[in-house]
């Protein structure tokens, strides 16, 4: 089994007249960094809720590591798959930062000593080690998001989903979390990371990108390929990644830049060489 996630003919509607997700099928390879993008209302967040069994499909199936997502398997699946949602106020459970990070660990019956170690380790990784005794009301939105992220990362999961999980962080904070995720992916090459995001630049850097539009898969594939179909991208009101925009504008003036160049840093180096 090479797929961390298999979605087959997935449909979902909140009410009878309106289909929110229509016949979605896709696969996510183990160890991949996958981005899911699309507008508000495209069905991204509904998909996230389905993947975590907060709601159940109207029809179709989801397999996590070849295990069908249903009532019977959900306990097992939650030991391998975790999600961080966008609004940290809806997911702060503990009365203090340390309680909140420990919550998931407690559910897994981790011994107290190990738990204390993990809480310390992960609070440090998200730069919240000095706030362990603070209550949620004393924290900013971004700080609460860091706590939610630490709580999930500490669980040693195989599949991590971020649903706009860094939307309230400042750029330094976003970079910190990106580094942290990369570090964890290097340590465990089988760790699958799925990011639901509006950030086209992030999508451009991922291994695989799925674009949702009006509840259907609009395009999927390697970012270099799908974003190059510019008219299609613009048709649904998405932006073209900055690096690609520059590359295309230069191409028109007969200056050609290699496909491998994906970050603005590499692009600047290439232009200046």
């Amino acid at each position: 089994m090479n797929e961390a996630l298999k979605v087959k003919n997935l449909c979902f509607n909140y009410d009878e007249n309106k289909e929110t997700l229509v016949n979605l099928s896709f696969e996510v390879k183990k160890g991949d960094y996958v981005t899911l993008i699309g507008h508000n209302g495209s069905g991204k967040s509904t998909l996230a809720k389905l993947l975590t069994y907060l709601i159940t499909p109207s029809s179709g199936e989801i397999y996590v590591n070849d295990l069908l997502l249903n009532e019977e398997n959900i306990g097992k699946i939650r030991r391998t798959l975790g999600i961080v949602f966008q609004n940290p106020d809806n997911q702060f459970i503990g009365s203090t930062v340390e309680d909140d990070i420990a919550f998931g660990l407690e559910n897994r019956n981790i011994p107290l000593n190990d738990m204390q170690k993990l809480v310390k380790e992960y609070s440090k990784k998200v730069n919240m080690e000095n706030y362990l005794k603070k209550e949620p009301s004393e924290l900013s939105g971004g700080q609460k998001q860091r706590v939610a992220i630490a709580g999930i990362l500490a669980l040693n999961l195989k599949i991590i989903i971020f649903d706009e999980a860094t939307s309230m962080l400042d750029p330094e904070g976003v970079e910190d979390i990106k580094h942290l995720i990369n570090e964890m992916r290097e340590k465990d090459p089988e760790l699958t990371f799925i990011s639901i995001t509006h950030d086209i630049e992030e999508a451009y850097l991922s291994d695989y990108c799925i674009i949702l539009n009006k509840g259907r898969i609009y395009k999927e594939g390697k970012p270099n390929e799908i974003f190059n179909e510019i008219d299609d991208i613009k048709r649904i009101g998405l932006d073209v990644p900055f690096v690609l925009k520059i590359k295309n504008a230069l191409k028109e003036k007969n200056i050609f830049i290699n496909d491998d160049i994906k970050t603005i840093e590499d692009l600047a180096k290439n232009i200046c060489k």
């Binding site: 508000n40 004393e138 700080q143 400042d170 976003v174 520059i246 230069l250 180096k269």
Partner: protein, 300 residues
């Protein structure tokens, strides 16, 4: 001067073991009709500061003056100011707080989570009714507010929870506009919206500004700052670091020290400089100009 912030400090949990000084002596001024942004990293004090503007938080020392209202929690200072200022000036107290809150409308982060009534119109009417506006007039004001944010009349009797995220946010903003504030403060109004939703909300705010209202944004979104804002206050660690404009700020050599998310365009310009691009980029503020100068450089 519409808003005057005078050496304001604010300490959370004063005299407790976890006392924390969020504002460390801030002074700034905002004129009537300005479109300004407060920026700075999380924990810089932005959200605390705006809450002093409508008296949700009273400064521990120093004061905020909004038109004729003085907001402070410093008793000694209150007495001094009352002696010094003209007769129209009032010190904010509980009884008068609603007058200030009517003047200063505040749209919090994710305002759509605060919708609660069973119809959209009722939700928007809550504000004016709360400010003791008579029912028929409250309804009229609410209808105007909803129309101004582009919510169609056919929606008025529907449940707000049937709306999409962007629509809910517009209803929430209408709920504040219905009370006809002079000053509108918005905390992260574009958080969680896609590029189209962002544009919609920001164009709406731009229209509200054109009507003569003062707009104060708290935001991490530097693309928004670049495209809409006239003046920026950069906060850091509870202090005012700088008062500036978008063009000046993003062209600064040491912009990275500010830990702001600068627009990709300016990030790229900085990287070009870093890797030794030969031509002067300081006057380049448009995409096409940048492409042209890169071509020129390559062809030299």
């Amino acid at each position: 001067m519409q808003i005057e912030v005078n050496n304001v400090t604010y300490t959370y949990n004063k005299k407790r073991f976890d006392e924390f000084e969020a504002l460390k002596g801030i002074s700034l001024k905002i004129d009537k009709g300005e479109f300004v942004a407060l920026v700075g990293k999380t924990g810089s004090g932005k959200s605390t500061l705006i809450q002093t503007f409508n008296g949700l938080i009273l400064p521990t020392s120093g004061y905020v003056k909004v038109d004729d209202f003085i907001v402070t929690g410093d008793k000694k200072l209150k007495r001094q100011l009352l002696k010094k200022e003209s007769k129209e000036v009032q010190i904010l107290n509980k009884k008068k707080a609603y007058l200030l809150r009517k003047k200063v409308g505040m749209v919090f982060q994710f305002p759509e989570y605060q919708l609660f009534a069973d119809t959209i119109l009722k939700d928007v009417m809550f504000g004016p009714l709360n400010f003791k506006v008579e029912e028929n007039l409250a309804k009229e004001k609410s209808i105007n507010a909803l129309k101004s944010v582009g919510i169609d009349e056919s929606y008025f009797e529907r449940n707000p929870f049937e709306l999409s995220g962007g629509e809910k946010r517009r209803v929430a903003i209408a709920g504040i506009l219905a009370s006809e504030p002079d000053i509108l403060i918005l905390d992260e109004p574009t958080a969680g919206l896609d590029p189209n939703g962002k544009k919609e909300i920001m164009n709406l705010i731009k229209d509200i500004h054109k009507e003569g209202k003062t707009i104060i944004l708290v935001t991490h979104d530097m693309d928004v700052v670049m495209d809409y804002v006239d003046k920026i206050f950069v906060l850091n660690d509870g202090k005012l670091l700088e008062e500036t404009t978008p063009n000046i700020l993003f062209n600064k050599e040491n912009i990275l020290d500010y830990s702001l998310e600068i627009p990709t365009f300016y990030k790229f310009k900085n990287l070009l400089k870093k890797y030794g691009f030969c031509k002067d980029l300081s006057k380049i503020n448009e995409f096409n100009e940048l492409i042209d100068i890169i071509c020129e450089d390559k062809n030299d």
